[in-house]
Amino acid sequence: MAATREDVKFLSNPKIGLRRKKYCRFRKFGIKYIDYKDADFLLQFINEQGKLLPRRITGNSLKYQRRVATAVKRARHLGMLPFIADLMK
């Protein structure tokens, strides 16, 4: 049975389902300030244990990843985000 064109493409093209382009959401939408009081927004950047997500996962640029980190740490100080947690999301 001859392989169809679609089969050949699937077997030989390793790039199928290539990851969509990662971008820094702050750079893209022009957001300059990250509010430390907005806990719901900051939840995007921490995992279910309350830990900060790394830059390669969130896609942030270095400048904004650092701002996010300071915002999360301030929110933790104020009791809006936990230091350690279980099953946060």
């Binding site: 509010d35 933790r76 104020l78 809006m80 936990p82």
Partner: protein, 141 residues
């Protein structure tokens, strides 16, 4: 003028008037030092993510103020530290982006998702009500 923001947590076991009087007292202290109060945001009673001083909730206040010289800030913070009614406080210097963000937030420009949904709903409604172009059948006799 330098802009600052102080966010503090008031003990929830106090009565409503005591909470209000604590916030007012801090505001008076600020004006006493010569700062202009830009806004006071009472974020209300909130659950804490972890117990602070064996309490699981607190009343949040955020005061934005401005002043020319701020050498009194350390004294002010020391006063906050000694205040037994406050659980936590945080003083932050706001840069121009922070000031703009707070202004926009107060004017409702930062609605985020809700505003875009409203706009989309309005656009959809307008499109439905637009007159449908008449299809003229040229082949009909």
């Amino acid at each position: 003028m330098r802009h600052y923001e102080v966010t503090f947590l008031v003990d929830p076991v106090l009565s409503g008037e005591e909470v209000k009087s604590t916030a007012d007292q801090i505001q008076r202290e600020l004006t006493g030092y010569g700062a202009t109060i830009i806004a006071v945001d009472e974020m209300g009673l909130r659950q804490l993510a972890y117990p602070i001083n064996r309490r699981s909730s607190g009343v949040y206040f955020a005061i934005e103020f401005g002043c020319e010289v701020a050498d009194w800030l350390t004294k002010f913070e020391l006063g906050l530290k000694r205040n037994e009614r406050l659980l936590r406080f945080l003083t932050v210097k706001l840069d121009k982006y922070g000031v703009k963000y707070n202004d926009d937030k107060r004017n409702g420009l930062i609605g985020g998702k809700k505003k875009r949904d409203d706009d989309a709903a309005a656009a959809a409604l307008a499109a439905e009500q637009a007159p449908v172009p008449q299809v003229v059948d040229l082949d009909a006799n």
